[in-house]
């Protein structure tokens, strides 16, 4: 099972739910890897007639099953970055009443949510369901660089090389958690990295 129960945390940390069908003029569904399972769970033929699926497989094998749902349109791409121009075109043309469903890793959900919010959908109206990896998308507060798929705490910033600790403070606009230098007050004293939820 690809579901994980996140520990209770501070109010800025996103809370994920379970996708459910909603009334709407169209349905936009974006998922990566095992997020496909959440779409398969919620899909109904009635919904699929107005549904547009953007899927990033990340090596998982769900593409055929998603296609078999017969959505109004289907796209599978190699990365979220590759899917972005298509997503922005879709949102620019979209009308009120559009329902958005996001499923998969926190990085994918966060980035797609940020794009949908910029297009005018309040975050509370966007449905999310976490599936798969619990790795985090982290922003280095010092150099502003984003490090994707961070699994350990502390970790090394992939841009500036500082040793950073992982906070639960989260920015929807950046679609990232905050990472802060861990050895500023005692340079070189960096604890052994361990899993974020260990």
């Amino acid at each position: 099972m690809s579901k994980f129960t996140f520990p209770k945390s501070i109010t800025s940390r996103p809370v994920y739910g379970t996708l459910e069908p909603r009334e709407g003029s169209a349905h936009l569904m974006i998922a990566d890897a095992e997020g496909a399972e959440a779409i398969l769970d919620v899909a109904t033929p009635e919904m699929m007639a107005k549904a547009h699926i953007i899927y990033i497989p990340k090596g998982e094998d769900f593409e055929d099953r998603l296609r078999a749902l017969k959505p109004a349109s289907f796209y599978a791409g190699p990365s979220y970055a590759a899917a972005q121009p298509r997503l922005h075109k879709f949102l620019a043309d979209a009308k009120m009443g559009l329902q958005v469903y996001l499923a998969g890793t926190e990085g994918l959900i966060g980035q797609a949510q940020s794009a949908a919010m910029a297009a005018g959908i309040p975050h509370t109206a966007i449905q999310t369901e976490h599936r798969g990896s619990v790795a985090r998308r982290m922003q280095c507060v010092h150099c502003k660089g984003i490090t994707e798929d961070v699994e350990t705490d502390p970790f090394v910033c992939s841009h500036c090389g500082l040793n950073l600790f992982v906070r639960d403070h989260y920015s929807r606009r950046l679609a990232a958690y905050q990472a802060v230098c861990i050895d500023a007050e005692d340079p070189g004293n960096v604890p052994e990295p361990k899993g974020i939820y260990e």
Partner: protein, 320 residues
């Protein structure tokens, strides 16, 4: 002291628009400039009618950029408690009155890619100011305005003349009606809807938009309720240790103020939530009329909004 700060003004113009609606213009009595405001704001007008002081909220409908004068439009309510009748029958040019600083409980969402206004009758007034504000900044808007008849369509001609492409008028007596489902369908992502009018219209718009998959945050509404007369009742105020009588023609809030008990307020129309008061004990029935508390809170018997709600029964003890 409760409510927003006060401004001493003089009535400088009174213009009857039709048989029901009259426009009043206020300027500062001291000759200074009035505060600027944001479209959708209201002012609470104090009416000294003999021994009675009524305080009614009215939407500011003048240009928010114009600091020389404020305008409100008052619809005469022959069934009401007399506030609008006082304005229509007793206020004359040159009278000095007291109004509150502007308070906005119906502000524009300035992130909106498009503003869609739905007005019913006198509900047009906040939109008059909002339209002036949006025009100043070249924002995209559209108005759908339903009124009873051509004669009673306050400002309909003016709006149609100035903004022919944005303004759509519907006259009840010509069997014209807003085709809401069609109107909502196809609005660009990021559109916000604003509705001001009778409660039935507000409910209709909210419910229809919800059914069409619109987010709650994209629907804005305002309806001020005038307190309605009702049977007199007795209230015990626990903190001030007083037993007061609420008369037929006054609200519970007004009765408390008359007795020198300070209760906070902003809108006096059941919308802002400021006067929310805890019920300590009761035996009888509440007549809840506010928009602030939800159905469960109304049913709980634990809270009351004294600006518009009343009580019928033996005992009511409040935490004031």
């Amino acid at each position: 002291m409760s409510g927003a700060d006060k401004i001493a003004v003089t009535v400088t113009d009174i213009v009857p628009l039709n048989e029901l609606v009259t426009r009043f213009e206020f300027r500062r009595t001291d000759g200074g400039l009035l505060p600027t405001f944001s479209g959708g704001a209201h002012t609470v007008v104090e009416m000294r009618d003999g021994d009675i002081t009524r305080m009614n909220p009215y939407s500011l409908m003048s240009d928010p950029m114009d600091q020389t004068a404020y305008c409100i439009s008052v619809r005469r309510d022959d069934e009401g408690r007399g506030g609008s009748l006082f304005m229509h029958n007793k206020v004359a040019v040159g009278d000095e009155m007291v109004i509150s600083y502007p308070v906005n409980l119906f502000s524009l969402d300035l992130r909106a890619k498009k503003h869609l206004f739905l007005a019913g009758g006198i509900g047009i007034t906040p939109f008059m100011a909002q339209i002036k504000q949006l025009e100043r900044f070249n924002c995209r808007w559209e108005l759908h305005y339903a009124c009873r008849s051509k004669d009673l369509g306050s400002y309909a001609d003016e709006l149609s003349a100035h903004h022919p492409n944005e303004t759509h008028i519907y006259y009840d007596d010509q069997k014209q009606a807003i085709d809401l489902v069609n109107l909502l369908d196809g609005q660009p992502l990021g559109t916000h809807v604003y509705v001001c009018g009778p409660k039935g219209m507000i409910d209709w718009v909210r419910n229809t938009a919800k059914a069409e998959g619109w987010p709650r945050e994209a629907i804005h509404y305002e309806e001020f309720l005038a307190p309605k007369p009702g049977k007199p009742f007795e209230v015990k105020l626990a903190i001030s240790n007083k037993v007061i009588q609420v008369g037929e023609q006054e609200s519970l809030l007004e009765a408390m103020e008359r007795e020198g008990v300070d209760a906070p307020y902003l809108c006096r129309g059941g919308a802002c939530g400021q006067c929310e008061t805890r019920v300590i004990d009761y035996a009888g029935n509440f007549i809840h009329r506010d928009h602030w508390l939800d159905d469960a809170e109304h049913a709980s018997g634990e809270k009351i909004m004294p600006c518009v709600s009343r009580f019928e029964g033996k005992t009511l003890v409040l935490d004031r």
